[in-house]
Structures are given as structure tokens and as C-alpha cells.
Subunit: 330 residues, 2 copies
């Protein structure tokens, strides 16, 4: 296991401590636990936005706290859900009287723990609702799309809902825009190598030296098929076909795209994919009005990448392009 | 070779094409060649800032074009210097009548080609000078520090000189601040795995599964020593000792630090290093006034990281914190 770490059991604590010490103007610990982060300056009079999930995906989830994005985050161990207590603490820390909206990915443990925390807090008369993000087209059919996993498209829900919440909009308006964004995102990716969990010390899955897995999840969940590694253009075509076949887009429609590295895959390769994907959109007359290319949701040092697409209208585009104060949104 | 690419010979062209198509409001090709990038809106009445070097280090060099940073960049093949013609084109594209300052790393091919391009253009009465960055403390002793390699500390020279040039300052003032920044940066890193050159298709060096190389360069140049992989804290202590032993810092002095991944090493590990390094600075009474943690100068998918330190005074700090418009400076 070739990692720059100390004791595996300190991996999460030390990395979060490093995040807070590096950007003290953005993040701070909740007073009650070091597994809950909040903005260094708590905002008032806005709908609170909360996320959370397992560690090992930085900048997701914790990195996206900041003005114009999330208010608080509950942090689990590597690839493990945060506890009900941590989530409950995150929700309370985000509350400034206008209700709290939780936004997280569709994974069993996260859904269960966010649900339990929300139910407990509703009994204390706190308004809490959840948006469960399910954007990975490889993980279930269109007919069962509520069963899909939540992956990098989640970033778009954070960003657009964050911009709306910052205007002081009421709970229903913030929830409306979150649901609308969630309806209009699609993601699909490929994995080339596994990652290694610090405590287990071994790879999350086995894959041949000349193989790729199309549609694999960011924890190594099975994809659609495994095959020989293809060229960047062929991979991009295969992903495009699935993505564009799943969302209604025609000539003249506007989108934003996000090309994400799962960790080890470098910017050079992401841009080769971006080049091809832009050409495909161009050929169909689809207008890409804003690209994001980088490491937004990772699986530590896994090699691989995903393409996310967001269908835009004027409202979504305006909110997407608002400023946000966060070292990981660029 | 597990890379998401097409033909290896198209690697550089396609990745740069993808960069420009993804951020058209920041970058554009020079009209004369697709190996020279410039700002999408050329600035007038400022000292032009040019960099350049081999590909395979994104975001370095090309990514750092943008308002508050560089004006143009000449792009070589992977780990190879740009040609004299490309550099000459980059310098001419950056010229708006107040002279041009070139900032690049201390590598034989780059120095030779920048020198030749500058001499040619001086004969055309264009004012051109160079700042050769040499911040890697592992690559030569303090007594011979002009022989050191230029690595990630270069980013500080881009940023601070960029902010000064944006004020409309004259050539001598811009050169003064570049030299001052260059004097006050130190970098040292470790490598855990090699990278693979797309055209060669094989690793740049061999290293054992339990080994690290302290002080290795970003092209795989030999470091100070090779040994068993140590803990993050031990690695950080060893790097700190070299870095802080090379620059005069005492209780109450201010610095900025940059913890850089060479590619595959994830944010979680960088933050573990950041946590320890901040504690070391704290213990010495050195004030870290601004951290940067991420992938700033890479070697594609190499695993490893470096620590850079910049000793600040009020002038350097003010210029460092000015806004810059670039997707890779955050």
C-alpha cells in the first residue's frame, strides 16, 4: 500500500484537520464533534444546506462547504456513512430558522441515517427535507431511475441550490430548484484501476492490466460491462451515447458538462475526453455553455473518469454561474 | 500503459485543444501556431509575462495564463522544451510595448531555447529578459543554488509577478518583484511511483513497492536518497528540516505554503501532510498566512508530493492575495 499516511485509523481525522487548518476562512469544526464541518462564518436567514457521506472522495463532500454552496457536512469513515448523531448535528448547525434541505447520494446507509436524523429533528419542530441524488445512468434503467447511484452530478445540485439559498429564497423555492437540477443531471464513468482503503490495505477490486470497466461506481460497484481498454475517443463515444440517450436534448439546447477524474487520471487525459465530447455535442447542435474539468468527486487514487451533463434553462444557467467561495469550485 | 488517450503522437495537441475548448473565456491559440496559448482577451499597456516548458505537468505551464497571471505560454512535447520559434511567437504575442519578462524553470533545453529566442527578438528591438526559477532544494546545495531545478515554487513567481504586472508597473518594477519572489521560495518533494510517457509507453524509472525517493525531480531526476516508505509525519519532518534549513525564518515571520500532488496522490494525503507541516511551523512561531493544497505542477499520474514555502513580507503577501482569473489558481 503506497500511501502518504500515518496510522490508517487516523486517516480521516488528520485529513479533515488538514483541510480546516489549510482554509480557516472557509471551514470550521462544529463545536460538538470533529466529524461535522460548517462554514467558518455561519450565515443567517437562509435555508440551510447539508450534505454528507463517506470519506475518500475529496473534494466531495466536505470541500463544497462555502458561501454559495453548502452550510454543513457530516463526515463518515472511508466509504462509510456518517452516523445519525453526526448528521443530526450537521442539520442543527445549518439551521437558521428557514428550514434545512439535505442533499446526498443514493446509497443505502446514507439514506437510512439521513432519514432517521430528519425524523428525530422533525419531532423537535425543525423543518428538514432531503433530495436524494441519483444521476449515474449505468446503475439502473431510465424506468427505475430513482434506484440509480448518486455520483458527480451531485455537484450541480450543490452549486445551483446553493446559489438559490444564498438569495434568501424560502424553503419551497430552494427545494424546487434542487429537484429541477436533480431531474436534469446525468453521469457515467469508467474505472481503470482500483483504490486501496487505508484500513483494509488492499485494492477494492481486481482488474486486468489491459481492461476497463464501463459504468463502475465510485466505490468499485459493478458497471455495465468490462472489456479491453479502448481509445479516449471510443470511450467518450460510448459514454455519450448512454448519456444523451437518457436525456431529452435537441438542436439548440444548452448544457453544462463536468469531466471528472476519479483521482489518478491526469488533466491531460480529461482534456482529451473534453475535446471529443465537445465535438460530439457540436455535431448535434447542442450548446455547451460552461465546462468544468478536474477532480470534483474522487475515489482517492483510483484511475478513471466520468462525464456529467446538466441540461440548462436560463434559470439554471444563471444560478450555476453565480460566484461561490470555495477552493474546490472553479 | 493504462491511459485514456488516442494516438500517443496526438496527446499534446488534443489535450491543449481540450483546454481551450473547455475554457474559451480564458485561453486561445496564438494565430500562428497551436503550440502557443495566449489570453482570450489580450491585455494592453502592461509588461508581458511568458512561460513555457514541456507538456505533462498540467496545470503547469499553460493553465496559468489568465488575468493576474501569465499572458502567453509556449508548449513543448511531453517533458521536452518548446522550440525557439514557439518561444519567440509566445514572446511576441505577449508584447504590448512595455517589454516582456519570461519566467521558466531551470532546465537545460528551456534555458537554451528561451535565450536564443530572446536574443533574436532583442535584435528586433523588443525588450525581453528572463527569470530562471530554481527552487528545488534537493537538486543542489545552498552555495550552488543557481543550479537547482525549477519546480512548484514557480507558481508563486507567476502569481506575484502577475499581480504586479496587472497594475501597469514598468519593466524594472515587475522584474524586481519576480527576482524577490524567486529568492524567497523553496520546494522539496518525494516520489512514490513513476509516470508513463505516452509515446515511450513505459515507466520513467523503477522503484520498489515499499520505496520512496526523497528529493526526486518532476521528470524522475534522481533525488537525495531512496529508502523505505515512511509515515506522512516522518516524511513531512524530513522535508521540513531541509526546507527550513535553507531559508532564514524566525519566530513571527510570515509564510505561504503550497502542498502539491504530483498527480495520483489524493487530497486526503495532501491534507495529512498539511496538518503536520502547519504544526511544525506553529511550533517554531512561523505564521502561515495562506495555504494552497492541490495539484499545481504534476507529472501526469505520478504518485508523490512536494512542499513549497514562500517567505512573505507585506508587499509579497498583498500581491499574492490579489484576485486572478484562472481555473487552476485557487
Amino acid at each position: 500500500m503506497k500511501k502518504i499516511i500515518n496510522y490508517p485509523e487516523d486517516f480521516v481525522n488528520e485529513s479533515i484537520q488538514g483541510l480546516v487548518i489549510s482554509y480557516p476562512d472557509i471551514y470550521k469544526f462544529s463545536s460538538e464533534t470533529n466529524k461535522v464541518l460548517m462554514r467558518s462564518k455561519k450565515s443567517s436567514n437562509k435555508v440551510g444546506l447539508v450534505s454528507g457521506g463517506g470519506s475518500g472522495h475529496l473534494p466531495l463532500f466536505t470541500g463544497y462547504i462555502g458561501e454559495g454552496l453548502l452550510d454543513t457536512c457530516a463526515i463518515g469513515n472511508v466509504f462509510a456513512s456518517p452516523s445519525v448523531d453526526e448528521i443530526s448535528n450537521a442539520i442543527k448547525s445549518a439551521n437558521s430558522g428557514k428550514g434545512v434541505l439535505c442533499i446526498y447520494g443514493n446509497y443505502g446507509g446514507d439514506v437510512m441515517n439521513f432519514d432517521m436524523a430528519s425524523e428525530m429533528l422533525e419531532m423537535e419542530d425543525l423543518k428538514v427535507e432531503s433530495i436524494v441524488v441519483a444521476d449515474d445512468v449505468a446503475s439502473a434503467s431510465y424506468e427505475e431511475k430513482e434506484k440509480r447511484r448518486g455520483v458527480t452530478g451531485m455537484l450541480y445540485v450543490f452549486k445551483i441550490t446553493g446559489a438559490m439559498a444564498e438569495t434568501g429564497a424560502d424553503f419551497n423555492e430552494v427545494k424546487r430548484i434542487a429537484l429541477k437540477t436533480n431531474e436534469n443531471i446525468r453521469t457515467m464513468g469508467i474505472a481503470l484501476t482500483p483504490t486501496i482503503l487505508p484500513q483494509a490495505g488492499k485494492p477494492t477490486f481486481e482488474i486486468g492490466d489491459d481492461e476497463m470497466e464501463i459504468g463502475m461506481g465510485i466505490h468499485g460497484e459493478p458497471g455495465i460491462r468490462r472489456g479491453k481498454l479502448k481509445s479516449a475517443d471510443e470511450i467518450t463515444e460510448e459514454l455519450s451515447e448512454k448519456l444523451l440517450g437518457d436525456i431529452n436534448l435537441s438542436n439548440g439546447d444548452k448544457v453544462s458538462i463536468l469531466i471528472n477524474s476519479l483521482g489518478a487520471t491526469p488533466h491531460e487525459e480529461l482534456f482529451i475526453v473534453a475535446n471529443k465530447f465537445n465535438n460530439i455535442l457540436n455535431d448535434k447542435g447542442i450548446i455547451n455553455s460552461k465546462s468544468y474539468v478536474g477532480r470534483y468527486a474522487t475515489s482517492m487514487e483510483m484511475a478513471g473518469m466520468s462525464i456529467s451533463i446538466l441540461k440548462l434553462d436560463d434559470e439554471l444557467e444563471k444560478l450555476l454561474l453565480e460566484d461561490a467561495n470555495c477552493p474546490f469550485w472553479y
